[in-house]
Symmetry: D3
Subunit: 137 residues, 6 copies
């Protein structure tokens, strides 16, 4: 692992968010707002979460983001909004993101799914993307 | 939706488990062992979970099973064993299943991931599959 | 099951919410606001959650809503507000709803219960109902 | 509150479990096996959980036990077995217990429900009770 | 246990919050705002949570509050704000509170920790306390 | 951070478990049994969990282990057994471990606490330690 883990993490975030070189972490919250109370936190986010884990081979970026979104739906975490943006950024189709969330109904129940889809709807509207409907009824 | 939902669900389970026509639900537990106390339960599993949700377009079978596995890791449910089998059955590579579980460390913590990987190891051993290692160190 | 499942679900929602024929789903959120991104979602809510599950025999409407409220307290889901309304609508006394929530202290701890009771207080105030106090101290 | 809280708790447990005067806590685990390491624990269970909370007015014993069972299904706790026994003891019909658990599918998903019903099946078999089937199909 | 449990609870809250005799429960929410719908609730909070449990020997106040904060991080409960205040009040250093929350990353994942640290940052700012940084980088 | 993170993690584990130089990870499960399917996993456990997080300043080893135990009680994870051993190893008194677990009753409810105390009892028995009872009743 010749490459520096922090740089590897920054590169991965830039790849995931299609961020410019001027602000390479793009829309990803790496905990910089918390540096006054936990100055080492963003280092762990960048080095470990992105430099180590997101940089593993085995699954591709689309699978990684779908996995992330699923975990956040199951847990009801607000970070789902940021990771739905990441999903669109790595090329997931809106219907894949919706498909993944709806697929969770038998495993997490309806309320988690309804709450997550409301967030997806908001992100899709902000970015001007629309969903091809999965069924013609 | 011209096709009968129950038959649609059975067909989907057969497709997911590569089950024979003699026992079309294969290794999938659809709650038949509970028919004495909840005779309508397996109908809901087949019709709703598999006939409706697993049969939706938008994401493919591999994505559906990875999504299912992720939810079960986040929740710590024992059904993860059955769905890891399903993953292999639909053509997920062992390293994709492992990759998905390891990817969850930043979202669920280490214990959930260690517990899920122990189940994966057991299933892989039973089925004689091995994992191509993600890193040469 | 001669009756159409969708109609069965709509009838059940109307019964639970005492909704008018003009707007038969009343105050129940069936996911209609999400039809642009998941057009089949409200069908699953109506057909499966209400047409199948809420329409099962075995327990009555009051028991069904208390069960729902309990699950939502344990999970901390915001949908508890809608289902407290449903509870009043099906004839649960406010002290039954409060009694159910307070009963959860030994199982979910105080914070979940305090949060749920704050929602109940808001709903009771909006609907002008008051609670007969369970103890004279 | 003239009555001693500990005695109130013991009386409530005896009422819930239909226990004999010789062993008034019946099948209820009040943490006595843990007295070597936490000698005050069973006092809290008896005084607070049963003497205070289970003794509140507002909901009846059947509602209290259904509420308890629901919370334990949502959390996946092994104590569900003991409280299904309590349910039968206070006069809940097996189909009410099953009805409550099955009702949770839209809120907790299938795996939690399947796991809880397996426990119910075991308890019903041990006690020789059978479920009137909710549907003739 | 000669002392009245309610008085014991009030004394403990006053000790934890350094509250004045005029308003001895200080900033601690004991459920008084819910007395219209659950008049016995604040009694349980005071008598059981503070009079019994917080008054146990075995661990000191600092350990009790760190334990409380940890549980609330793991559960994502909003009560964490109040208990971070309590932590400062009983003499925990800001870096101990932050240290405890950051220590949870391997057990709860990053999102829970980021959300909790945002609350801590807000409380620290309100109270004008600053964190000695754990690392010089 | 001049020292190698992996070595730092191993040193920390050895310190926590009082392990011999022959087997420096002692009783700590670092995922070595999973190396066939996830060869990089134990590296993350050692480098990140122990080399980074457990090695942070701000809180001492006793606080770190109590925090870990609390998180595992709240989540119901089986890893609690290993970390109760770690607690004894770093010098936590049995009554501190019990005190921390019992303190969680108002936050997680009784079942989580009873389950965790059963594990503590088993570990204490294996190691021949006894608890000074917190109350003389």
């Amino acid at each position: 692992m010749a490459k520096d883990r922090y740089q590897q993490g920054i590169d991965k975030i830039q790849e995931l968010t299609q961020a410019s070189d001027d602000h390479p972490t793009g829309f990803m919250d790496i905990g910089e707002g918390l540096k006054d109370i936990a100055p080492d936190l963003s280092k762990y986010v960048v080095e470990f979460a992105f430099g180590d884990i997101y940089s593993r081979p085995g699954i591709d970026n689309k699978q990684k983001v779908l996995t992330t979104i699923t975990a956040l739906v199951a847990q009801g975490k607000p970070q789902i909004e940021m990771h739905i943006k990441t999903g669109l950024s790595v090329g997931l189709k809106p219907e894949e993101i919706v498909g993944c969330i709806v697929h969770l109904i038998p495993y997490t129940g309806f309320p988690s799914v309804l709450n997550a889809l409301s967030v997806a709807k908001k992100v899709f509207a902000e970015q001007g993307v629309s969903v091809k409907t999965p069924e013609d009824e």
